[in-house]
Point group: C2
Chain length 430, copies 2
Amino acid sequence: MSASLKTIEGTPDVAALMRDIGRRARAAARVLALAPAEQKNRALKAMAGALRADRGAILAANGEDIAEAKAASANAAFLDRLTLNDKAIEAMAAGLETIAALKDPVGAVMESWTRPNGMTIERVRVPLGVIGIIYESRPNVTADAAALALKAGNAVILRGGSESLGSARAIHAALTKGLREAGLPEDATQIVPTRDRAAVGAMLTGLDGTLDVIVPRGGKGLVGRVQAEARVPVFAHLEGVCHVYVHQAADLEMAKEIVLNAKMRRTGVCGAAETLLVDKAAAETHLKPLVAMLLNAGCEVRGDKATQAADKQVKPATEEDWSTEYLDAVIAAKTVDGLEDAVAHIERYGSHHTDAIVTNDAKAAETFMREVDSAIVLHNASTQFADGGEFGFGAEIGIATGRMHARGPVGVEQLTTFKYRVRGSGQIRP
Amino acid sequence: MSASLKTIEGTPDVAALMRDIGRRARAAARVLALAPAEQKNRALKAMAGALRADRGAILAANGEDIAEAKAASANAAFLDRLTLNDKAIEAMAAGLETIAALKDPVGAVMESWTRPNGMTIERVRVPLGVIGIIYESRPNVTADAAALALKAGNAVILRGGSESLGSARAIHAALTKGLREAGLPEDATQIVPTRDRAAVGAMLTGLDGTLDVIVPRGGKGLVGRVQAEARVPVFAHLEGVCHVYVHQAADLEMAKEIVLNAKMRRTGVCGAAETLLVDKAAAETHLKPLVAMLLNAGCEVRGDKATQAADKQVKPATEEDWSTEYLDAVIAAKTVDGLEDAVAHIERYGSHHTDAIVTNDAKAAETFMREVDSAIVLHNASTQFADGGEFGFGAEIGIATGRMHARGPVGVEQLTTFKYRVRGSGQIRP
């Protein structure tokens, strides 16, 4: 543990510390909400510069975190997520510049209309307020999440993983320099300076009404706990059990490309396909070559009887497989009795995240996209497009499967709310 | 207590009853989400017809409720809210027809764009899911809330006040006939058939993830409890401490009309003004005649020193008055040191509901509308326009001061969410 943290770890009253952080965030949010786009962008660019300038300090802090994690016998995947290098720091800095270049959502008029009495009404975007980010070992979330929140005019309270606190604090120090350089309050971007887990509990209760939303970034354990315990709204997805449904009218070559990409491009992302559904009528023409292709690509296939019949290497699927997010080179495969059966399977076992149909039958595609109740539904495209960048949002803070406010990729617009501005000329209500 | 209720009151396991209601609502929501506009409108019109046809039964049930309430020594205001008559039933029926005539929000494309790779992305409105309504003595909420939820393709679970349960059940019986006539599932609109308060507790926990949102309709006690205890999102406002700020550049005649209307048109609505702010510089020219007008209209005025100096009848205001929602012919009045002072007062004491400025200075008006962080801000118009009907929404289920999803008047569009439909031609992610 670094020397600077020791005194903070000794803080006797985490509740008081968190209340103070909340109070300061609320005050900063008020300033940020009224800050011009130019000033916020200046801060983001200055943050990028400070990250680059502070590279040595950030890598040194990261080195300490890594040494501690190794001493605590952390596994390789964990160390990989924790480790920063020159490239990672440059990526963070470039990310901030990308966000600076995005259109400012605050003040945008979403709709406007005139009433019969002559009043005009505008619905205009305003910041959400104070956003809490609870994340795990990846220190770069510190910069990415803070920047997106800032762009939308929000204050942010960052609570990183215990193991990456040193790295996160070094990154946060650079962000603070950027705020200062642009004349914005330093409290706009605060980091929880203690490893005490009571700090997370305080955030989940909303810090006496201070937090407007919490965004958890991390594994299923973290997200599940936040969803279960938070007393404030949460933007998150617990898991992505994504389906590709190959309809009998699918073009085989297109189906092969999409299934391979959806499953194997990156197996660890939430938009990776976990289940392949194929029409029974296309078992010979489509299922067989798709299964062969997947096996050939090194993907384990767990299937129903018909899929097992397609290839000896297919293992039997259990009931549990239909709702499993493997995040690995494994896929569950099942034959279905046409469109309605496919939709019923997805509604029963899916996670309402992202699901695709491959077909040349336009009517079947429209029915699928209407009836599947997921944040993202696709026709003839890979589920791996489930990403704010791919949607053209410029950056995202995550993907939400909740139904309130934000759904699908959560970009800068989803971190705003709105108010109504009414302009009259003396109108009174009859 | 009516005979039909006795057996239900005897239900030993309210938790099991509520779970069953939730399960059936979820299944009905799926059907409703895919129901065509025409079918939903047919149901709404048939409901209106059934309400008119069942008038006798509804009034009889209401008579029983009233007799019980009288026996329990309910006060006059309570009895007034509870009482139905021919006019009230016709108003409910006409309300359903108004909602039937509204545009169907489901399926509307909110935005669409094409990505560089040729994929098109659409953001399209879909129903929220299952809406819980917890209300008090007004039996007509049963029809109003159910109809608005149905129009947006949602299932609804209605929990009315204990004292109006007989009336609410009679109204609900008519709504069920309408659903049946249109071939929609009767479970789309369910009423909690027990007075047991444990049913409310079950709804506040979300019925095992079934409820997507709760809308409380009633007094501050009910709304406060729901906001404090609900584990699901809530659309509500706790109170409306609305301000009219008369700027020194205000036209006096316009200010008089707006202040009188904002305070006195109806004193019991959430958009009624509770505090008058007047620039110190306009104490002689504006404050004095405004106070005289209010007193003359029968409104009690509680003011700061300067307001007390304007008229002997002004009573001294205490600190508490600045944050009090009177819902009565009483107003708090204060002089302020210009625009920034007015905004600071509203931010400190207001409830982020609805606030107005009266001025002929366009720049001051824009600053006010930008800086006041309320759901509705008005320039030169009465705060009593805070109403979904007045906004042109056709009908509203209430006004929300939360920042998530719905803010301001909650109409049929705010009872929907969205999903993304992506159309490709074989795109895979690089």
